[in-house]
Symmetry: C2
Subunit: 284 residues, 2 copies
C-alpha cells in the first residue's frame, strides 16, 4: 500500500524583524517593547472587473503589514457563489504570504440561496467555457495591475467543488497559471479544445464522494497529463464531498446532501496545497 504521510511544516517563517522608526507611541510600539510579535494584518476589499458587458465583484485579501509585493492566487468558489467560505480561504492565503483574489464567477457577486439555484448557476458557467475563461482572464488582467501583486512570479488558482472543476479546466485550456489545485472538485471537462499546460495540477479528492465519478476524475487527469501537466491526484480514504468546509455538515443536514467536513483530510490537503503554491510561485 502506498502511503502519503507527514505534511509536517518546515517553513522558515519569514519573520521580518525590521522595526521601523515611529515617532508616536502606538499599541504596536508597546507590543514591540514587550517582545510581542505582530501576526499578519489581513484586510479584504471588493475587487471589480468587467467582461462581456457584465461587472464581477471579487474579494481581494492581502497582508497590509507586508511591504513586499507577493504572488497572486485566485480562489474559485463553490457552486453557491462568492460567499464567506471563499473569502475565508482568501484571508488564509493572504496571512501566509500571498495576495489572494476570491473571484466572482456569477456576476454582481451573486450567491445562490438554494442548491437548485446553485446548480443552475454553476451549469450555466460550465456550459460556456469561453465566457467563463474570459471572466477569469479579466480578473487576472486586473490583478496584474495591482501594485501588491508580484506579477513576475506568475499566478496560481485553487478552487472548491464547482471551483475545483473551474481550476482543472483553466489548466486544460492552457491558461497562464503555474498551478491549479482542486479540492473536492467536479472533474467534468468543460473545455472543448484542450491546450498545452506545463504547470502543476493537484487534485484533492474524497474517496467516498458520490458526486465525483472515478471515470470522470481519471479522464480529466489523463487529459491534463496528455497536455504536459504535472498531475497529482490524492484520495482521502474517509472523505466525502465538501470535506474542507467546516460548515458542510450543517448544509448537508439542511438540504439532505452527501457532504461532511473531514478535519484530517482538510488539514492534509491544505498543507499539500501550500507546499505546491510555495514551489510554484516562490521558487520560480
Amino acid at each position: 500500500m502506498r502511503t502519503f504521510l507527514g505534511f509536517i511544516c518546515l517553513l522558515p517563517a519569514l519573520m521580518a524583524s525590521s522595526i521601523m522608526a515611529q515617532t508616536q507611541t502606538s499599541p504596536v510600539d508597546m507590543d514591540i517593547q514587550a517582545g510581542i510579535e505582530m501576526g499578519p494584518q489581513v484586510e479584504g476589499q471588493v475587487f471589480t472587473y468587467a467582461t462581456g458587458g457584465e461587472t464581477y465583484e471579487g474579494y481581494l485579501a492581502r497582508n497590509t503589514s507586508d511591504d513586499e509585493p507577493r504572488p497572486a492566487v485566485l480562489v474559485v468558489h463553490e457552486w453557491w457563489g462568492l460567499n464567506d467560505y471563499a473569502r475565508a480561504r482568501a484571508d488564509q492565503l493572504a496571512a501566509l504570504g500571498f495576495v489572494a483574489l476570491a473571484v466572482d464567477m456569477y456576476g454582481g457577486g451573486e450567491v445562490a440561496s438554494h442548491p437548485d439555484e446553485a446548480g443552475t448557476f454553476s451549469r450555466q458557467v460550465m456550459q460556456d467555457w469561453p465566457a467563463a475563461r474570459a471572466r477569469l482572464e479579466a480578473a487576472m488582467t486586473e490583478l496584474r495591475k495591482n501594485p501588491w501583486v508580484a506579477a513576475d512570479k506568475g499566478m496560481a488558482a485553487i478552487g472548491y467543488c464547482f471551483g475545483g472543476g473551474v481550476v482543472m479546466n483553466m489548466a486544460l485550456s492552457g491558461m497562464p497559471i503555474e498551478a491549479a489545485i482542486s479540492f473536492h472538485g467536479s472533474p467534468a471537462q468543460a473545455v472543448s479544445n484542450p491546450q498545452d499546460f506545463s504547470g502543476r495540477v493537484q487534485i484533492h479528492n474524497g474517496a467516498q464522494d458520490p458526486l465525483v465519478k472515478r471515470d470522470a476524475l481519471m479522464a480529466m487527469a489523463e487529459a491534463l497529463k496528455a497536455r504536459g501537466a504535472e498531475v497529482e491526484v490524492i484520495n482521502y480514504p474517509e472523505a466525502t464531498h465538501s470535506f474542507t468546509n467546516p460548515h458542510a455538515d450543517q448544509v448537508a443536514e439542511q438540504y439532505d446532501l452527501p457532504l461532511a467536513y473531514n478535519a484530517a483530510a482538510d488539514a492534509a490537503s491544505w498543507q499539500a496545497a501550500l507546499l505546491t503554491l510555495d514551489k510554484a510561485l516562490n521558487d520560480n
Copy 2:
C-alpha cells in the same frame, strides 16, 4: 513596526512510496495502478486513563496508514470540555505526522451545555492545579505505553482558551513537554510553585480579545521566561477570543459572548504551531 510574515509551508511531504506486495486487488491497489496517492487514514478511539479514583475519557487520533511510531501531542480542550472541536484538532495533527491525544480534563468525558456550567468546570480545574497536573501526568503515562507513540521524541501540548491556560501552566510547573502552544488561552497563573522549564512556549493571542488581560498575559510570559522557557507571544491585530474555531460566531450569537472566527489568524497561528511542533519533536 515589526511584521510577522509568510508561514509558507516548505515541508518535504514525507511521501513514503513503498508499495507493499498484496495478493488481493483492493480499491487501494486500483488507485496505485492509476497513479493515485492515498491521503492519511486517520482513526480516532476512546483513550481512558485514571487518577484520584476518577476515569478520564480522552480521544486518541493516529494515521493508521503510517507504519512508524510518531511523537505525541496533547490537545487540551476549551472550557466546554472534550468536544468535536478538540477531536477535529487531534485528527488534523494525526494527519500531519503526530499521534494526538485530546485529553479530558473534566472526567468521564463530560461536556458543558451552557457557558455557566463551562465556567464552573474550568474554574474547578484551575483552582486545584496539583489535581489537574495529576490528570495530565496520567494521560502522558498511558500515552508512553502506546506502541504508536515515539516516546523518545518527547511530547508537546497545545490548548485552546481554557486549554491554552492549561498548557501554559504545564510549562510553568515544569512538566516534561518540549513545547506548550496556547491559542487564545487564559493566562491566569494556576501554579503556586513555578519550576524550571527549558522548552518552547508559543502564545497566540487575539489583540482584540477582551477576555485576556494584557497584564496577565505579560505576567505569564515573564514568569515562564524567568524559569528558562523560550517564550514567543504573537498578537493577531484583528482577532478576538476563539479566533481559531470556525463555529465561534454561532456560539457568540447564541450566548452573547465576544467570540469570532478569524480565518487569517487561524491559518497563521496553525502554521506557526506546526513549525514549532516540528522543531520541538521531529528535530530532536
